[in-house]
Symmetry: C2
Subunit: 226 residues, 2 copies
Amino acid sequence: MGEENKVTVHGMWLSPYVKRVELALKVKGIPFEYVEEDLSNKSPLLLKYNPVHKKVPVLVHNEKPVNESLVILEYIDETWKNGPRLLPEDPYERSKVRFWAAYIQHVMECMLKIFKAEDQEKACEEFYQKLGVLEDGMKNMFPEGSPVKSRNIGLLDILIVVAFGACKAQEEVFGVKFLDPNNTPLITSWLNSLLELPVVKESVPPHDKVVSFLRFFKESSSNAQA
Amino acid sequence: MGEENKVTVHGMWLSPYVKRVELALKVKGIPFEYVEEDLSNKSPLLLKYNPVHKKVPVLVHNEKPVNESLVILEYIDETWKNGPRLLPEDPYERSKVRFWAAYIQHVMECMLKIFKAEDQEKACEEFYQKLGVLEDGMKNMFPEGSPVKSRNIGLLDILIVVAFGACKAQEEVFGVKFLDPNNTPLITSWLNSLLELPVVKESVPPHDKVVSFLRFFKESSSNAQA
C-alpha cells in the first residue's frame, strides 16, 4: 500500500456504523489501517478529523477525512470504481437503495430506543411496525427472495448485516425477539445468508464479547434512570 | 415535454423539502408539472407513490416515484447530466457536500423545535450552537466568502436558501432572531445573494402568506399544549 493511497479507519469495535465502513472496504478489496478509539478519551486525531460530531467512524484517505458512515460508503464507491460497486449504476435503482438506506437508519434508531429501555413496549411497537415496512419494501426490491447468492455484496447487504448481525446477542440481553422468521422471512433468510459469507464472518465481533458489553450497557442505563 | 420524459412533483406550497426539489428542477432547466397536495386529505396518487412515509415531496419521472428530498436531488443530478451539476464531480468534494447537507437537515430540525415552542430557550440554544458550526464549516468550504456570484447554483445553495429563505417571516411570528449578520456573516450574505437570483425569487412564497400560515401554526401548537 503506497503512501499516496493510504486509508485509515478510526473506529470502535462494537459500532455498527464503523462496521459498515470496514465491510465496505473489505468487499471492495481496499487495504486499510484500523485505529481503535477509546470513546471515553477520544484521540486528538479523531477530534481533528471529525471536529463537528467527534464520532467514529472516520475514514482518512491520504490525510483527508470523510465522516458519517453513509457519506463514507458513497465516497468509497465513487473513489474506487474498479472493484465491485456498492450502489447500482442506474440512477433510479440508486435512488431506491438510498431511500432504503435512510429507512434502515430509522429502524436502527428504534432498536437503540429498545436498548435504552425508556419505554420498551412503545419502542418495540414502533420497531416492529418499521421492520414490517422494511420487509415489504425488500420483497418489492428482491421479488425472488434471498438476494445474496447470485451477485456482489452491495450497500443494502452491508446495512442489513450490520443492523441485524448482532441480533442473537441483543435478544439474549434485552429479552426482545428482534427478528422472527415467521414475520420477516425475507430479512431473516437474507441475514443468515450474509452471515455465512467469509468477509462477514471475519468482521463480526465475538458473540460473548458483545453480550458482556451489552449487559454492561443495560446496567449502566438502568442505573442512570434509577 | 414528451410523455417519455414526464416529470411531476407532488408538493405543498410551504414545505421547504418540496422547495428543494422545485428549485433543483428549475436550476437544471427540467420542465415539470406541479400537483399541490392537501395534507389533511392526501390524494390516492400520493399514497400510491409514497406508501412508506405518505409525505411530500414525491418526484414522479415516467410513472416511477422517487421519495425523500435529498434522494430526489441526487436522482435529478444523476439522471439529467447535461445541465449544470448540483454536486461537484470530485468524490471528495461530493462527500463534503453530502456531509453538510445532512448537517443542514439537523439545523432545520432544531428550527422546527423552536416553532413548536416545546422548550424555546433550550431549542434556541441548540439552534445557535449548530448554526455556528455550520458557519465555520462553510467558511472552510468557501474561504473567499459569498459563494454564489461566480458559479452555478449547487446542492448547498439550494439547501441554504430553502432552510433560511423564510427567516424574516419566521422571525416576525416567533420573535426569534434566526440569522444575525454579526454572528453568521457568511451564511447571511450568502442567503441574501441567493434571494436576489431570479430562479429563487420566483420560487419563494409571498411573505404575507407565509406569516399568516405560521401564525395559524403557532396558535394551533399552543392550543394543543394548553
